[in-house]
Point group: C2
Chain length 329, copies 2
């Protein structure tokens, strides 16, 4: 298997992080990674690595899409960019999947243009994993769409359900609709209409869930419009970081705390691991006729490695075919 | 000043928590509290207290609104309930404000029916405080409305701004619109239209803010529809609790951790204090022609005390008059 990696995407020193992540991934699991980006810069970074690997090769791309560039203008003007070229490799059958930690909107728009949509799917959705005490749940849409219609949310529910079952080993995944009250009558116009449709669908719909249920692990798939999903995702990422840093500060403020901090080092690592988004690697773009994993802009090498594994899993499970079959029913 | 307290409202042993909170409040700050609820039960609980106070008196209310009762049916059928009677005391001029930790929807509906709205305000909004590293920011609407219109969000922005300035001492409060991208063009239909209106308003509108900005403290007032606001509030409350409990578990799992846990006790208290919603006491129902503070169903005596202080502050600052003046401009 070959995966195309957009090596120019990410917030800080993206080339270093992407190449390190790719190196870790191919060493652990012998698939190939095509490093897409500015050739000289990639070669320079590769030469600094202690090791080399025959499983890594470079594909040149002249341009880079900036993190804050408008997706629509990038689609029109940046056809030589690393994201575009990486997606193109998949389209041409030279790779099976693409991974990018770059501009999410641009990656999404370019994937949509080049791959097209799966039959009967009207809109793509970003599926992301959220930590729970015992593992993770899947939330979609985490920001691909706003002002979704009830039919879109139903398609998201179905795609999320297939993903949870086939890629995450959940048997008959519990699908919840994110709302502000458990009863069918609660929520807004969109959720009330969606509830009606989901009730009649073939998935294991457990009804409305509330904000307080998101991180409990009592639901496998959380369905919502991308506006709400994105805000929940971003606010919870920040809050978890804030709680950690508040705790660190409190620990530093006294000798008792500093001693406790020393004792806690290994515990702390474990704790961080449970909450960290780098554990989960990346968000999947579901509904497009291709495999595209979008990693966090601030991705560490570890997060890139996990995003590559995530893409590999998607391909191995032939997830798009399974979604097509499910949606045709 | 007299404040009416719905003593039957809350999740677990509400009478005990409400009376204890009221006792703490009147001891600290000599206003009167009218304890509203089932007379015999309240007297029994009061007799168990180590102290008495001439600042507490009981007002009998036969009925109780259950936490899961439908607000509309409660409004129609429970006119002898503790929430209704407490609000009525304010309406009749026998108290200046009402506090309830009971059924939020019922309290809101009853307050709206009995008090009516302030002139030019179309919908009430729940304003709540969210912790930030250095203090708190104000989010509204936290769940009074769904499917709000741009004009409603503008009214929320204005009310929140007056509240932040007059009650929280923020000079020219920074008002942000919760969305999923900083640029004016980002967001959904509602936020894009609201942006246009806010840009032309007299408040200090700083533009869109994203999920990651909510807890930074870089904004004083966060404006959003109640559907999103409620989900953000509930998910963040749960997440903060989950992070704490994960940490506690990790600490318990080794002798190193248990020792660190002992050393950390005072630090932990400080840390909890920064995150705990009981510090903030209650959410204000803004836009109605009366003063109503809604406390969390799980409120501790401390949270009740703080909710009473919150109501007192509202009255002392004559906030409703200030909102009326601001909205008339």
């Amino acid at each position: 298997m070959r995966i195309a990696l957009d090596c120019m995407g990410g917030d800080v020193s993206p080339i270093f992080k992407n190449i390190s992540g790719a190196m870790e991934a191919v060493e652990k699991d012998g698939f190939e990674v095509i490093l897409v980006g500015e050739k000289d810069a990639l070669e320079k970074e590769l030469s600094k690595c202690a090791k080399t690997s025959p499983l890594l090769r470079i594909e040149h791309a002249e341009e880079t899409v900036a993190m804050d560039e408008s997706p629509s203008s990038a689609v029109r003007r940046k056809r030589n960019s690393s994201i575009w070229v990486a997606i193109q490799l998949v389209k041409e059958g030279k790779a099976e999947a693409v991974v990018s930690a770059g501009n999410t909107g641009a990656a999404m728009a370019m994937a949509k243009v080049q791959f097209g949509m799966l039959p009967h799917v009207e809109r793509p959705a970003i599926a992301t994993r959220l930590p729970t005490p015992e593992g993770f749940s899947i939330l979609l849409d985490a920001g691909a769409n706003v002002d979704s219609k009830p039919e879109h949310l139903c398609q998201f529910a179905l795609m999320g359900s297939v993903y949870a079952q086939d890629c995450c080993g959940r048997d008959s995944p519990r699908v919840g609709l994110l709302s502000i009250g458990e009863e069918e009558s609660k929520g807004n116009e969109l959720t009330r209409e969606t509830y009606e449709l989901l009730k009649r669908s073939h998935i294991n719909f457990i009804g409305n869930i509330e904000g307080k249920d998101i991180f409990t692990g009592n639901v496998d798939v959380i369905v919502c419009d991308g506006f709400v999903g994105n805000i929940v995702l971003k606010s919870s990422e920040f809050l978890a970081e804030m709680v950690e840093s508040l705790l660190r500060e409190e620990l530093k403020a006294s000798w008792c705390g500093r001693l406790a901090g020393l004792l806690m080092k290994p515990i702390y690592r474990n704790f961080r691991k449970k909450l960290s988004h780098s554990e989960y690697g990346g968000a999947l773009l579901l509904g497009i006729n291709g495999v595209c994993v979008i990693s966090h802009g601030g991705s560490s090498p570890k997060a890139i490695k996990n995003a590559l594994f995530c893409a590999k899993e998607f391909v191995e499970h032939n997830l798009n075919k399974r979604i097509e079959e499910a949606i045709a029913v």
